[in-house]
């Protein structure tokens, strides 16, 4: 029995599966058409005790480790949810950690508790129109004026922004480069803060994404998250969790598509025989299974080492690329084996095919991951 299948985590999986089957699977199509999740789902997930897992009880969470959070993500996807759903329902997974780590009781009371209760939504806004990969080069400015910061700049591709009440925003408070960045909490309704209409995307259709523009937004200094000019290190501190989270979503999506494909090839007959009787099909699903298994096993091993406190910065980058590559391969082959049906909106693998395309772009692109691996190898 691995750390991922203890009695408690098996019980957690059963609860998550029930929640997914009752609350998510029947509604996901409608939410994709609407382009967003209803706040009611956040409330229900909070009541079911899912939203706050991985966050300390003192901040309104349920306790538990990142592994518990990822057991939930795995099961949500494998029960018929999607990575888009996980991104939208758990946006606080990237929006809250810095704030909770910083430990300001007033901000925890105001932001973390209502968010983990499913009553409010928080987004993380780092990426800018001029560049996402180069975080240290961001240009949104926050200038101190008395006991306020005056914020000006644009943030792009911000998950859940059209629904968010709070935004954890990376701003430049100091000089150029990594040393001049801070995190500020911006709030819906602050004069000068506007959120664009939802951006029209390839996938993650149930997850709204928007541009955030700050034009002289006055933010009280009390909304500073952590220490001034140390924001880059706070962001870096979350890199491992964010990347591993995307790796988990990638192999879970692959597993789901493999499961759907195995059922399909047994059922679908061409030329009088099930597809599963053809050797090319057999070998293809075997390869899908191999890549999925390797991605999961490697990613979980890296996670276990990370949890044990080892330095796994390079391995995290390799895990993300491994899981993303496996997922790309599996979703593509799933759609292929579904034939014309795989191209239809009503078919679940079609959603995963579109949704998974972002996994190698968000949270550090494939190329940036490879850069990290190369740099650390040759350092």
């Amino acid at each position: 029995m691995s750390t991922w299948d203890t009695d408690e985590r098996t019980a957690l999986r059963a609860s998550v599966r029930r929640f997914a089957e009752a609350e998510i699977v029947p509604n996901l199509g409608a939410w994709e058409a609407a382009g967003a999740l209803p706040l009611e789902l956040h409330r229900k997930a909070a009541r079911a005790g899912l939203l706050g897992v991985g966050f300390p009880e003192s901040a309104g969470g349920q306790g538990g480790t990142p592994i518990d959070t990822w057991v939930i993500a795995e099961e949500l996807i494998q029960a018929g949810g999607s990575s888009g759903l996980v991104a939208a329902l758990f946006t606080h997974g990237i929006g809250l950690p810095h704030l909770i780590e910083a430990g300001d009781p007033a901000l925890i009371e105001k932001v973390a508790k209502p968010v983990l209760a499913g009553e409010r939504i928080v987004s993380l806004a780092v990426t800018e129109p001029d560049g996402g990969s180069d975080v240290a080069g961001l240009t949104t400015r926050a200038v101190r004026d008395g006991d306020e910061y005056v914020v000006t700049g644009a943030k792009l591709y911000i998950t859940s922004a059209t629904r968010a009440d709070f935004f954890t925003v990376a701003v430049r408070t100091g000089g150029d480069g990594a040393g001049g960045i801070s995190l500020l909490l911006l709030e819906r309704g602050m004069p000068g803060l506007t959120v664009s209409a939802p951006l029209q995307k390839m996938g993650w259709l149930c997850s709204d994404t928007a541009e955030l523009t700050s034009d002289g937004v006055r933010v009280p200094v009390g909304n500073l998250i952590g220490t001034e000019n140390e924001g880059f290190y706070a962001i870096m501190g979350q890199f491992a969790a964010e990347r591993l989270s995307l790796a988990v979503q990638a192999y879970a999506t692959a597993q789901r598509c493999l499961d759907l494909t195995l059922a399909w090839v047994r059922e679908r007959k061409t030329f009088g025989r099930p597809l599963s009787s053809r050797q090319v099909v057999q070998h293809r699903v075997a390869e899908m299974a191999r890549q999925t298994d390797v991605a999961r096993t490697y990613t979980r091993a890296v996670i276990d080492d990370w949890q044990a406190g080892e330095d796994v910065f390079r391995q995290v980058a390799m895990a993300k690329n491994t899981a993303v590559a496996a997922c790309d391969f599996v979703v593509d082959n799933a759609v292929q084996l579904f034939g014309g049906m795989g191209y239809m909106r009503e078919t679940e693998v079609e959603r995963h095919y579109r949704d998974s395309r972002i996994l190698g772009i968000g949270g550090g692109t494939n190329e940036i991951m490879t850069e990290i691996v190369a740099k650390l190898l040759l350092a």
Binding site: D7, E8, A11, S15, A48, G49, Q62, G63
Partner: protein, 259 residues
Amino acid sequence: MNIVVLVKQVPDSGSERKLDPADNTVARASADNVINEMDEYAIEEALLVRDREGGEVTVLTVGPDSATDAIRKALSMGADKAVHVVDDAIHGSCAVQTSGVIAAALQQLEYDLVLCGAEATDAQLSVMPALVAERLNIPQLSGARKLTVEGGMAKIERQTDGGYWAVEAPLPAIVSTWDTINEPRYPSFKGIMAAKKKPVETKTLADLGLDAGSVGLANATSKVLDFAGRPPKGEGVKVVDEGDGAQKFVDFLASQKIV
């Protein structure tokens, strides 16, 4: 308010269930065992009453070692503690004998209200609340779709085909519940973690002051003598539509006494 919920572990009604040909009892070892579905509603109702009235919810199970899984689930939903009566001699007991074990266990507990599911999906006898009520000499309110507890009384809406009866009884009483009564909660992460630390007391027949001769297959008041599998499905009937398909279809349903 002290509430005891009777919980039974049964083979999952969603997967294949068997009798053991060796002694014609339910094959539990090979089955996918789960908490009896109707009991989840009784547990939920107990938690709701506790949350309104205060007090404690105790889970009471009579069953083999493996029934600890059902107990854990009940505790992870939020019950406070559990009593597990486990004794090899109980194997094969009939409902009448089992009710004696449950009643003896209840007599060692403090209770104002006993809750249980209206039926178990394995034997579907639906007699346990009546048997236990008789043994303990307390009122039975069976088949509730709604329960309120106030002023020392339990009041239920007893579900019937056409509607309900309003029935009430003084506490302590035993109430059985249908799946219309509430929506059982999912065990939350916190609940699952907390369940590990909740007390589970194991009792044997000797602890309950019962004689092994009063239970077990050899002394059961009823026995399964024989059983047979369901006959294989026959060939279906094909209705060819020659313009009169609908009529033929209705005739078929009528001939089967379905309409």
